[in-house]
């Protein structure tokens, strides 16, 4: 897939206008999302219609995003910097609530439940929809306590033995247990960058969420650590729905089943990853994946 993308990028005819100043030029082109954004009710995990996000001063960050996210799929969100892909990701677990002056409108449903509904509690939502951040952010506590924090918080373990089991299985799923089993009581911040990120993933899956949101999880890591995490994501797909924001198109191509392309706050195209990278339907998508801008 990677090779195909690269070959395609190289072979793409250079007939389009150069990218300089291209953003404004292309902005009016986006009228609606092309491709297949909807799953027509089949195994939909997240359902999002007409989502807009405003920051302080009515600055609109994303415009009318309509997309479905399927169960146990990996959906990659790509696009140039500042295109709103992270903002959209943070809508899905209401992380934007924590930003002063940020306002989200529209309809987002998790398993058919409105996540902005009155009876919906953001704390419960975040236990169901875990998040892994761009910069590894383990707590300055021991490895064990990092992973045990969530289960302790939500009372998931009845006793120490159960907690030990949760910690071990989470670390195992995150592919970290072998490396750290002899030093669970050492600080999590003493691990390498890649290990720290896997610790953060273990911390997230320890709460047994249904969805894991990943905001550029490998952008601070070296290629080897990145490869480990990518393998991990592929394994995690068996039990979780994963939404990943990435700057690397190769990564999106390698790990995702569907890819969403954002441009200037608008969702331009959603389709099977293969289709997006081999046969993009929108001019902007094609420009982006062929490296014309972004």
């Amino acid at each position: 897939m990677t090779e195909a993308t690269l070959n395609m990028a190289a072979a793409a005819p250079q007939t389009h206008k150069p990218a300089a100043g291209g953003r404004e030029e292309f902005a009016h082109d986006i009228t609606g999302t092309v491709g297949k954004p909807f799953l027509d009710g089949k195994d939909t995990k997240f359902f999002s219609r007409g989502v807009n996000v405003f920051y302080t001063g009515n600055k609109q960050a994303i415009f009318d995003v309509n997309v479905d996210i399927g169960r146990n799929e990996v959906i990659a969100m790509i696009g140039p910097s500042g295109c709103g892909k992270s903002t959209f990701l943070r809508c899905l677990n209401r992380m934007n609530d924590t930003i002063a002056g940020c306002r989200v409108t529209g309809d987002i449903r998790l398993d058919g439940e409105d996540i902005h509904g009155k009876e919906q509690d953001p704390v419960l939502l975040r236990a169901r929809v875990g998040m892994v951040f761009q910069k590894p952010n383990p707590f300055p506590k021991s490895i064990y306590d990092n992973v045990a924090y969530g289960p302790r918080l939500h009372g998931l373990a009845a006793n120490r033995a159960e907690l030990d089991e949760i910690v071990e299985s989470s670390l195992t799923k995150a592919g970290l247990f072998k490396e750290v089993k002899d030093r669970l009581q050492t600080p999590g911040t003493g691990l390498s960058g890649g290990q720290q990120q896997r610790l953060c993933i273990a911390r997230t899956i320890a709460v047994s969420p249904e969805v894991i949101l990943m905001d550029e999880p490998t952008s601070a890591l070296d290629p080897i650590a990145t490869a480990t995490i990518e393998e991990l994501i592929d394994e995690l797909r068996q039990s979780f729905t994963i939404c990943i924001v990435t700057h690397s198109m190769q990564q999106a191509a390698r790990i995702s089943q569907r890819t969403a392309y954002f441009h200037m706050g608008k969702l331009v195209e959603v389709n099977n990853t293969k289709t997006v990278f081999t046969n993009p339907q929108h001019q902007l998508t094609e420009n982006y994946i062929t490296g014309r801008f972004g």
């Binding site: 992380m95 924590t98 704390v123 975040r126 236990a127 910069k135 924090y149 911040t189 911390r203 997230t204």
Partner: protein, 427 residues
């Protein structure tokens, strides 16, 4: 091309290194200067203050006979308390120099020993009434003038009129010295008593206890209030809100209000309106709390602000509530900074006297306070009172009190630094 660049860089190197050296020299000089002044100050305080930790005693042979004491053999404790120990002391001193007949000299003879001597005997007899009718050898506290002489502060060669110790007294003192009846001992009085008009009987304990009570209460009130206010303002208060900004500006302003104003406020509000006891550590600590709150709030807010947002997001991302993310992660990480702010505030408060003058803590306090509502004074005020006293012996006690204040401060800061180390974690 590249050679010219290399040459240019090389040419500028000398200048750059010279500037660096110069800057280091400035730093070194300023540190050396401050150290020099510090050493000078310490030397001055310690050389003046250390002698105060010993005091001069005179050995007396006294006869505790019932007749002189004016009591009967089966006296009640009350009678023993009011017995005439003064006469016993007087007889004991006269026994040292039987030849002295003149009235004025007899009076001078009596004042060789401190007024405390008779109470020393009283304490002995009350503790063991069987002593009545026996002969005892006791070391009693010498008068402060004798103490000063024995410590070498009196110049024998000066004209008699310029000396507190006259020629005939010098003869007595030399005789006492020769008989081994005069000696220096550790000054326990200084650590076990309150203030007194007589320097040899004056102690630091009432001021020390006053400071301990006041500081403990100040910490008890200011720390939770300041930290909670900082946490609320930094983590929970709405941003860009007029009232929050208004409060913030006012806190910053309060930090620069002269401390005596807080004293006036304390007088007007706590004493006049709420009728709290004047001169008490309770009111003093309220005033000091108000004074150091801005310092603690500002420092704590800075510490909270410096905790990376990724930690907050990490906690929120796995379903911690706002309060949990703040108290499980942000506050522990900010604790070293919060404690630093508290140390600065407390160090400020422990040396402060101006605001406490207004609430009556400047009083002459003899009794050691036993509670937070007892009249008390504090170390800086005690230092001020002694520095203002004319007796020579108070000079060394002033310096000794400064040493105690410094020790108190170091102890307090040490505690805070140890606590801070406990909270410091590596990232």
């Amino acid at each position: 091309m590249s050679t010219t660049i290399t040459e240019k860089v090389r040419a500028s190197l000398g200048k750059r290194y010279a500037r660096e050296k110069r800057f280091r020299a400035y730093g070194f000089i300023s540190i050396a200067l401050s150290l020099m002044f510090l050493v000078l100050l310490m030397f001055n305080i310690f050389s003046k203050g250390l002698p105060a930790f010993s005091s001069t005693y005179i050995k007396l042979d006294v006869t505790l006979d019932a007749q002189t004491l004016g009591v009967t053999a089966d006296a009640t404790p009350e009678q023993l308390r009011t017995a005439s120990y003064n006469s016993v002391v007087q007889k004991g001193v006269q026994a040292l120099f039987p030849a002295v007949e003149e009235r004025k000299q007899k009076k001078a003879l009596k004042s060789l020993v401190s007024g405390d001597a008779q109470y020393e005997l009283q304490r002995m007899v009350l503790a063991d009434p069987k002593l009545i009718g026996t002969n005892q050898t006791v070391w009693v506290l010498a008068d402060d003038d004798i103490d000063m002489f024995h410590k070498g502060y009196v110049d024998r060669t000066a004209p008699e009129a310029d000396r507190r110790i006259k020629d005939f007294q010098l003869v007595w003192l030399d005789k006492l010295e020769a008989e081994g009846r005069i000696d220096s001992q550790f000054n326990t009085t200084f650590f076990t008593r309150g203030d007194s008009r007589e320097p040899e009987q004056a102690g630091i304990l009432s001021a020390l206890m006053g400071s301990v009570y006041t500081m403990s209460l100040t910490l008890l009130f200011a720390f939770p209030l300041g930290v909670m206010a900082a946490i609320y303002l930094e983590e929970f208060a709405p941003k860009n809100n007029f009232w929050v900004d208004f409060i913030e500006v006012n806190i910053n302003n309060l930090a620069s209000v002269p401390s005596i104003i807080f004293g006036l406020l304390g007088l007007a509000v706590f004493i006049q309106i709420f009728g709290m006891p004047r001169s008490s550590p309770l009111v003093g600590s309220f005033v000091l709390t108000l004074m150091i709150l801005p310092t603690i709030i500002i420092a704590s807010r800075a510490a909270l602000k410096s905790v990376p947002p990724s930690i907050r997001e990490g906690a929120l991302g796995i379903g911690a509530s706002k309060t949990q993310s703040v108290f499980h992660h942000v506050v522990p990480l900010a604790m070293p900074g919060i404690l630093t702010g508290t140390i600065i505030g407390m160090a400020h408060a422990v040396g402060e006297s101006a605001p406490l003058l207004m609430v009556g803590m400047v009083a002459f306090i003899v009794d050691v306070p036993h509670g937070i509502t007892d009249p008390a004074t504090i170390l800086p005020v005690q230092i001020y009172l002694w520095a203002d006293s004319p007796e020579r012996a108070f000079t060394e006690r002033t310096s000794a009190a400064i040493i105690i204040l410094l020790a108190f401060m170091i102890l307090m800061n040490l505690l805070a630094i140890v606590l801070r180390k406990q909270f410091e974690r590596r990232w």
